[in-house]
């Protein structure tokens, strides 16, 4: 064989190797077949300074089972005497540590998190706007929050009537007093 033939065979072999390297897992056609479905989102809205541990744990369980992403959403309410697009540093001082705590807990359990902030004249108004703007598959809310602190029973009824998604409302459990609050943030925040 001439040197040119040897060179051609070697070059062909190299090209074949590069092609196989691309098309075989993890980058190639097999991987394409296994490409994950669009990520499902589980909305976890809250407006107080803490959320029910049961609601959080339910969200984590479902997210793990469905390979979904949790979307914790802090609902900030704008007083009537302020423009609707006002900055709300005081409410954020309460809500941001809680978002951080939820994100840290969920991430440490292997669940992806994509946080949101909603803003409206009331918690329901903020949630309505958030629902209009975002895409999600399920909402988890706890029915034990009193209406002064967040979503009350009227709001839950509104959710059931108006929101075209699966809604998981956790029944009140007076014996369960466990909460997640901004105080649970690991490290300084």
């Amino acid at each position: 064989m001439s040197p040119w033939t040897i060179f051609a065979i070697a070059a062909g072999g190299m090209l074949l190797g590069i092609g196989a390297g691309y098309w075989l897992p993890p980058h190639g056609r097999l991987a394409l077949r296994e490409r994950p479905r669009p990520v499902r989102h589980i909305l976890l809205p809250f407006s107080g300074q803490q959320i029910s541990r049961r609601a959080f744990e339910a969200a984590v369980r479902l997210a793990k089972a469905e390979d979904a992403m949790i979307m914790p959403a802090f609902l900030a309410t704008v007083p009537m005497n302020l423009p609707i697009d006002s900055a709300l540093p005081l409410q954020c001082a309460r809500g941001m540590p809680l978002l951080e705590a939820i994100e840290q807990r969920a991430s440490s359990q292997g669940v992806a998190v994509d946080s949101r902030v909603g803003r409206g004249r009331s918690a329901r108004d903020a949630l309505r706007k958030l629902i209009e703007a975002e895409s999600f598959d399920r909402i988890i809310v706890s029915a034990e929050e009193d209406s002064g602190a967040g979503l009350g029973y009227e709001d839950l009824r509104w959710l059931l009537e108006r929101v075209p998604a699966e809604i998981l409302i956790l029944r009140p459990a007076p014996e369960d007093t466990r909460r997640i609050s901004g105080g649970a943030v690991s490290g300084h925040f």
Binding site: S86, A87, E103, D114, V117, E134, V185, S186, G187
Partner: protein, 377 residues
């Protein structure tokens, strides 16, 4: 006081956290001191609000009578600017700088009257509360639940030759209020239940102290740079007073955490926060990324941060340009995985930023969930 503008009077403003801290009292005391020193001092406008001790300390100072302005059939009394300019004193005392004049007056705002008087070469002492500053109005409304309608542009205070903070502890102010030294007895209970709550006053005091610290810092920077060989540098000096943070974001879920951290740091430093996204030219975003970007915009708005979007294929250069423009002192960026392949040959972004922006702190924000055990209380 001496004005840097030839022929223009000097403005000295006494600022306080709330009514009753003693701004007017102090202004009148200084008026007396100037009078004793031989200056021609008049009171252009005084609001005693029925406070006896304020009225007493005003005695002995000439008062320019107010001017009658007819509004809806009633005659209202406003400061007589023409009479003050005509009288041409050396120093004029004018209370309540943020006051809105009765419609039909020559100027709609008292600070505009004061500008006219200053232009006539007359020095002015005046008073204002911190919640009347436009930039702080929304913030203080949220703090206190009370919106103040009469505001002044921050530039008015910025142009003042001297700003003096009249400080009082919230406890001492509440004692004065209960003793009837601020409002008449029948208004005390309402005041205590509304605006004059200890948490409100503490927050307002913090705002006032911080404002004055920034004012002092600003004046010091200007004084150091003006009139020297560094004068040319003054034009390039950052406009920001104190710290200004810049957080680098991308339209992905991790950016939310970075923004929260940056905002918290900004709160602690009393700093402004900017968010910067450098969009590669011609790059279109997926629906998910568009939603992430919108969510970041919403977060920025709620937090009171400013979002900046630049298009560039040179990330470091774009950051340098924005940091210089915004007067950034502190840059925050998220953790990036180690580079692979040819990327290893590139200088990492934090190092490039430190080279491009000497004097600017660079912080890499950690992902704390990586060290969390998930069992926090």
């Amino acid at each position: 006081m001496s004005s840097p503008v030839q022929g223009r009077g000097c403005l000295k403003v006494f600022i306080g956290m709330a009514a009753g801290v003693g701004k007017t009292y102090r202004m009148l005391q200084e008026g007396h001191a100037e009078l004793r020193a031989g200056r021609d001092v008049v009171i252009g406008l005084l609001e005693t609000h029925g406070r006896a001790e304020t009225g007493q300390v005003a005695e002995g100072l000439e008062v320019i009578p107010r001017n009658g302005v007819v509004y809806r059939g009633a005659t209202m009394k406003e400061m007589d600017v023409a009479a003050i300019i005509s009288r041409a004193p050396g120093l004029c005392l004018i209370d309540e700088l943020a006051h809105s004049n009765v419609p039909g007056s020559a100027n709609s705002k008292r600070y505009e009257d004061v500008e006219q008087i200053l232009d006539a070469g007359i020095d002015v002492l005046s008073t204002v509360n911190v919640q009347h500053l436009e930039s702080l109005n929304d913030h203080i409304t949220e703090l206190s639940g009370v919106r103040v309608r009469e505001t002044i542009p921050d530039a008015v205070l910025g142009r003042a030759d001297e700003v003096v903070l009249i400080d009082l502890t919230p406890e001492a102010l509440l004692d004065r209020l209960r003793a009837g030294k601020v409002y008449p007895a029948e208004r005390v209970d309402a005041a205590l239940n509304n605006f004059f709550r200890i948490e409100n006053l503490s927050a307002l005091r913090e705002v006032a102290l911080r404002l004055l610290a920034e004012e002092v810092g600003s004046k010091r920077l200007t004084t150091e740079l003006m009139g020297s060989r560094e004068e040319s540098l003054a034009a390039d000096a950052p406009q920001a007073v104190g710290e200004r943070l810049l957080a680098l974001i991308q339209p992905d879920p991790g950016a939310q955490r970075l923004v929260r951290r940056a905002w918290r740091s900004a709160q602690r430093l009393g700093a402004e926060l900017d968010l910067l996204w450098v969009r590669p030219p011609g790059r279109s975003l997926s629906d998910e990324q568009e939603r992430s970007l919108a969510a970041l915009g919403q977060l920025a708005s709620v937090l009171g941060a400013r979002m900046v979007e630049e298009e560039s294929d040179d990330l470091a250069a774009a950051i340098r340009e924005v940091a210089a423009r915004r007067g950034t002192t502190y840059i925050l960026l998220g953790y990036s995985p180690p580079p692979r392949g040819l990327g290893r040959l590139r200088v990492p972004l934090p190092q490039r930023l430190m080279e491009l922006l000497p004097g600017v702190d660079v912080r890499i924000v950690a992902d704390r969930s990586r060290r969390s055990n998930g069992d926090a209380p």
